[in-house]
Amino acid sequence: MTAHAAPTLPAGFEDLQPFAEQWVLPDQRARYLARLDASMDDLQSFYDATMARIDDVLAYLEQYPVDELTDEGVNLLWLYCALCNASFPIEVWRQQRVPDSGAADWTALVLPAV
């Protein structure tokens, strides 16, 4: 743990708090890089914990227009955006990288603001 406080999640999602520091990332590219850097064990625990709570999270997110989320709510959104990314190594690839993607890389030029 670093000296910085990890981003806080909304009340009721305390069990996901241990994942906040690594996975609350407000940028799709950063979430992709975090996935490449994580071990498969890390990815599996993150996936298992977040998938176990996904119905509650969707019910929570459905209550708010994006620009009316609290800071904690935004953190929860970013955490689950990271799950979208982390789901590929777990559900499909069995490795962090897209197979056969070699030197291919991408950058994001425009992403929606929150």
Binding site: L61, L77, L83, C84, S87, A104, V110, L111
Partner: protein
């Protein structure tokens, strides 16, 4: 046994009078041919540079590097309903007019006038020269004689196009009948934008090839579905609902059975939860009361998506579930290009829908990475010329159409040039 009907001739390729012989990819590995394409195609056809919504108010601008045309342009909203394009070049000594830090990097912003970093010459949004440092030092000088050099710009359905050929036919003539049948689609509703860029180690046409046939999809992207489903998809293969060619442009129309899937066990757990996947969000935002006649050309109830190629290097994919993807392929040499993929969604009603769109975009990036790297593998092998003739199937008709069209543009341009000499 085909699942979807084909034309009476027995194949789409023969129906459109396109030859069925093996093809050569010489046009994708030759530096000389690429130089001819730059003159014959990229300096003479209408090129799309995005949408008017990118320019939110008067004075909003962006720059675009178009290496294939040997040009940098600046696009500006010069009035409430007026858009202009200029060569991004100062009239005084030729310095690049609009840029930050690195001259080759595209920029965007808002301004009242463009000021050259070199000697402070200033140009209005209409290109007019407004200020010259020490004007009295110049000889027989009238500012009115020295505006920015403009580039032709036309807007169709909110899409911005430029053309470097002052003699080219107007945009709507160029678009022809098939594409103009998209008029009336509410493109402006789709203002939630994701835009990605990748440098790809292949000829520009090879990536278009990859996106105008889906024959590859059950194989190259097989592992994206659950295992049993993946085997089934490979067993069916791929058949389009419809192909059409109109002048240099073309379309492939596809089924949409995976959005939503007939049986949710066909797709990955996260897709079941978020109700989204490669084919986008499963739930439609319902902003299209009636399809324009150009969509779903087969009038098929299983319709899911149409991919239109606006020759030479722009594609619009319109989905039955009401979202849009565009692809741009910007050549930088005979065997490299920059790929831009842009997704347009209706803004999410709530944070859950935002997450749904995110999964679609993450999935898009995963697929595009596989596609992009495969292209480099193809390009390097084509360049060895160990094999020079390749069979293409009926589901690859649009590849034949694209390459034939591009070669015709080159041949006609070379003929005209020879005739003029």
């Amino acid at each position: 046994m085909p699942h979807f009907p084909k034309p009476a001739e027995g194949s789409w390729t023969e129906h459109y009078g396109i030859d069925t012989k093996p093809v050569s990819y010489q046009d994708s590995i030759s530096p000389e041919h690429y130089e001819q394409e730059r003159d014959a195609i990229f300096r003479r056809t209408w090129l799309n540079l995005g949408r008017v919504e990118q320019l939110k108010r008067v004075g909003s601008y962006f720059t675009k590097e178009i290496a294939a045309a040997g040009a940098s342009v600046v696009i500006v909203r010069s009035g409430p309903d007026e858009y202009r394009a200029f060569y991004n070049m100062c009239r005084h000594r030729g310095n690049k007019l609009v840029w930050q830090d690195y001259p080759g990097v595209e920029v965007s912003g808002v301004c009242r006038a463009f000021t050259c970093k070199y000697h402070g010459w200033q140009f209005g949004l209409e290109g007019d020269l407004q200020f010259v440092q020490q004007e009295e030092e110049f000889f027989d000088f009238d500012k009115a004689d020295w505006p920015l050099r403009s580039v032709r710009l036309e807007v169709w359905e909110g899409w911005i196009f430029v053309n470097f050929d002052d003699d080219a036919a107007p945009l709507t003539d160029y678009l022809g009948t098939m594409l103009r049948k998209l008029e009336g689609y509410p493109f402006h509703e789709f203002s939630q934008v994701y835009k990605y860029r990748a440098e790809v180690g292949s000829n520009w046409k090879l990536f278009i090839d990859a996106f105008t046939e889906f024959y590859h999809a059950p194989i190259l992207h097989g592992r994206q579905a659950v295992e049993e489903e993946s085997r089934k998809l490979a067993g069916y293969g791929y058949e389009a609902l419809w192909y059409e060619v109109d002048g240099p442009h073309n379309v492939v129309s596809s089924w949409g059975g995976m959005s939503p899937p007939k049986d949710e066990s066909m797709v990955k757990p996260i897709e079941r939860k978020l109700r989204a996947g490669l084919f986008g969000p499963w739930d439609s935002p319902d902003v299209v009361p009636e399809l324009p006649s150009g969509l779903n050309p087969a009038n098929h109830r299983a319709w899911g998506e149409d991919s239109f190629l606006f020759f030479p290097n722009f594609m619009i994919l319109i989905w039955e579930r009401q979202w849009i993807l565009t692809y741009h392929y910007w050549p930088t040499s005979h065997n490299t290009h920059i790929f831009e993929g842009t997704a347009y969604f209706v803004p999410p009603k709530n944070a859950r829908e935002r997450l749904t769109q995110e999964l679609s975009m993450v999935t898009f990036v995963e697929y595009a990475l596989q596609d992009a790297n495969t292209l480099e593998a193809t390009q390097t092998m084509l360049e060895t010329q160990a094999i020079t003739e390749f069979p293409l199937c009926d589901q690859e008709i649009l590849l034949r159409h694209l390459h034939t069209t591009a070669r015709q543009y080159v041949a006609e341009y070379e003929n005209t040039k020879a005739g003029a000499q």
